[in-house]
Amino acid sequence: MAVFELPEWTALAPALILVATALLLFVFDSINPRTSNRSLLAGTSAIGSLTALGVAVWFMLAGVGTPSVDGGRGVVELFGGQFIVDQMALFFMVVVAVVTALVAVASYDYMEDHAYQAEYYSLVMLAATGMATMAAANSLVTIFIALELASLPSYALVSILKNNRGSVEAGLKYFLIGALSSAIFVYGVSLVYGATGHLQLDAIAENLEGAGEYGGLLGLGILMMIGGFAFKTASVPFHFWAPEAYEGAPAPISAFLSSASKAAGFVIAFRVFTTAFPIEATTAVIGIDWSLAFVILAIVTMTLGNFAAATQDNVKRMLAYSSIGHAGYALIGLAGLSADGGQLVMGAAMMHLLVYGFMNTGAFLFVALAEYWGVGRTFEDYNGLATQAPVACFALGIFMFSLAGIPPLGGFFSKYFLFVGAIEAGMLVVAAALVVNSALSLYYYARLVKAVWIEDPVADRGTLSQPTGLYAAIVFAAVLTVVALPVFGPIADAALDAAAVVIG
């Protein structure tokens, strides 16, 4: 594709573009600290993330990160192996960039009248940079620092409505759990370093054989690192911050955290466990197959998330618990690695995270729209919205049915691949849990659609405005969810190839 060869470091271009956008926003902020030129700020962020998206897609098509034997340009290793750009990295950069663009556009209306416009957008871009670098990090050092780069701005973003008690409380709880889990994570890293003497993932894998006598330390370290991933992906046992943080945060930020941040958490989990701790070698050292831990976590997470979601009255809280449930589905990707079908399950989990990025962001943006209108927070408050805002409510229907996994939509295919993969890997219990939970999730997703389309409004709300930015973002997310269908073949191929490269 490319006529001329770019230097190697440009493989990180998506992340570099995101950080450049953040610095540009700093410049705007320092020239005019009280600027309220929202179009300029939101526009810059959206253009920056769309450029990053375009570059990431172009690299994927041009074959960056595809092994040379398959006709690609080979996996790019940078900074002595501290970063690695392969297909999985690019795939997740795409997810992060799409969600960031949607959030930036939607925030144009949602953050109207807010005092910290430039700071808000620069924090969003910095968090996105952190998530994009998490996708490419190939050493426990860069993974940990990128994780913090994604987390620190997120803490501030959750509590950015400083006079709103809910937002501050959410920020506090998110920060406390986040700080605790990062302390546990870094302790796990130190134990892994103690057992192997290295922090680079490939070097850890090479030194596993010599780590025979340190099995206990290594096992403890791996267990503690799982805690760090569980926090970032909102899975059991560090899931309980999610409902609080998503409910109290500004809705676009909830969308950002529940889609992009979760995807970034999964990419480091995938990379660490496939590259640094190959199953046979690790089992030989610690005596237990670590994928067992993920089998348990996947089942518990999806069951807990879906059952809790079914009992909620508050729409945002319901979506938060459903996001925990979806983390459980994606965990199947790690649970199935021990068996032969590992490549299929992990590819399916990556597809699910991509499709989930569209549909879940869209669903949270609908909540943002409802908060913008000020209609209230419970299912009853949403009754009959369809008569006043049919377009947005039609999009909501698409998101809900896709999240539930109704056949013609993107969410169905990714779940179907997960199901087939789980069966092939011989995890019948996990496959059964997936089906039962999907059936249960249909109940509460359909409840929201019913409230919006069928029920009559409880109170007269007057006319509802049509904020351009929010509408554009919601419609765009809906289009992406539907378009994911005809292009699902290529998406699936890309995900499966990426998984094959990482596992192989």
């Binding site: 913090e148 409380e169 003497g197 330390l217």
Partner: protein, 101 residues
């Protein structure tokens, strides 16, 4: 004559558990922050002791980075606690209960 590695690891584990003890029992947000710092420093002791044990410097350099990150985390944490105090007139983590846990 040097101290055996086991004692360093035991020391760091003791620190880690002291930090965890603080998090589980204290309700003051600032004490919570200090407990997290203790846990991060426990990891630093491990990293530096193991760096000497393995004879390479990777752990030592990483410990420097951990310190910088701990400082960054405290900066953001204090910001949140400041906002918490302005809203709730308290730094007790059990006071904010707008939403149930």
């Amino acid at each position: 004559m040097s101290v055996a590695i086991e004692y360093y690891v035991l020391l760091s584990m003791a620190l880690f558990c002291i930090g965890l003890f603080g998090i589980l029992t204290r309700r003051n947000a600032l004490m919570f922050l200090m407990s997290v710092e203790i846990m991060l420093n426990a990891a630093n002791i491990n990293l530096i002791a193991f760096a000497f044990y393995h004879g390479n410097l990777t752990g030592q350099v990483f410990a420097l980075f951990t310190m910088a990150l701990a400082a960054a985390e405290v900066a953001v944490g204090l910001g949140i606690i400041l906002v918490l105090y302005r809203n709730f007139r308290d730094v007790d983590v059990t006071v904010p209960t707008t939403m149930r846990w």
